[in-house]
Symmetry: C2
Subunit: 167 residues, 2 copies
């Protein structure tokens, strides 16, 4: 049970879009090159991010993607949900209905009234994780890394993107 690698691609890419000058979209090609990851797969990931309203696309020459909202308002969970889809981690298969004592075509009232308790526990556990991730924003991540990475690396990164955008 794992998150898709697409989540990691998305976060590492979106991170660097925080500080780009507005009105200057960045292409999937550049983001893929910068991160050393598959460009074509990354383009699929960005299509999902766009459909989720996290980024905005600008087709055509010098086009690309830019953040569709302020980075304070883009959380880790927003990104995960966009890339992974909204379905829960624990997909209850309702096997209680397979129980030998239960008639599937005529379920007892207690089943329609109460959801499977195991499912309830799992969903609540997932909600705990979700809450934590919904409180970590892209802008927080960006600031933390500016503080933690060495000055010169931050500088090289800034320069690289400045270079690419003025090509």
């Amino acid at each position: 049970m794992q998150f898709s690698i697409g989540v990691e691609y998305a976060l590492h890419s979106l991170l660097h879009m925080v500080d780009l000058p507005s009105g200057k979209p960045i292409g999937v090609k550049e983001l893929g090159l910068f991160n050393g990851i598959s460009e074509t797969y990354l383009s699929k990931v960005f299509t999902k991010l766009r459909k989720a309203g996290i980024v905005r696309s600008l087709p055509g020459v010098n086009g690309g993607y830019e953040l569709a909202r302020r980075p304070e308002e883009i959380s880790f969970w927003d990104v995960i949900e966009a890339v992974e889809g909204a379905s829960p981690i624990f997909q209850c298969a309702e096997i209680r209905q397979n129980n030998i004592l239960v008639d599937k075509d005529n379920l007892p009232d207690s089943f329609s009234k109460c959801p499977c308790l195991i499912k309830v526990v799992m969903l609540e556990a997932e909600a705990q994780m979700r809450q934590y991730l919904a409180n970590k924003s892209l802008s927080w991540l960006s600031h933390e890394l500016r503080n933690k990475l060495p000055e010169d690396l931050n500088h090289s990164i800034d320069d690289w993107f400045k270079d690419v955008l003025t090509k």
Copy 2:
């Protein structure tokens, strides 16, 4: 991204082992039949549960499995970890090392000193979920269901297992 169906199989099966008389193991065949799920796959799941020390096996005629610890001391998380394995949900691929500005064979100090911050966030999020699940025990689940399910269904369940064990 989803938990294996094996987790659901395990929880639904272990649940009914809580109230069995001690010294009376129950077979995978019976548990599979009772829950209406694949017996052969369930046997693989129980092998994992045994290796994790959650159940104890007794081979031979009238053999089967029984809980290896008190149900108060078996948590949802114990079961998940046994079935899914202990590897984290977010398997950081360290793509920061692929970065075009980074020499993979000569990583900057900041990389060896600090783990990828995105990974740190994800692991902490998983820890939130884990903590919740580590606090829900098999005995809690069993008691809750005894209260919530209708009297007659609880009774039929008890009868079914009593029947099977005295065959």
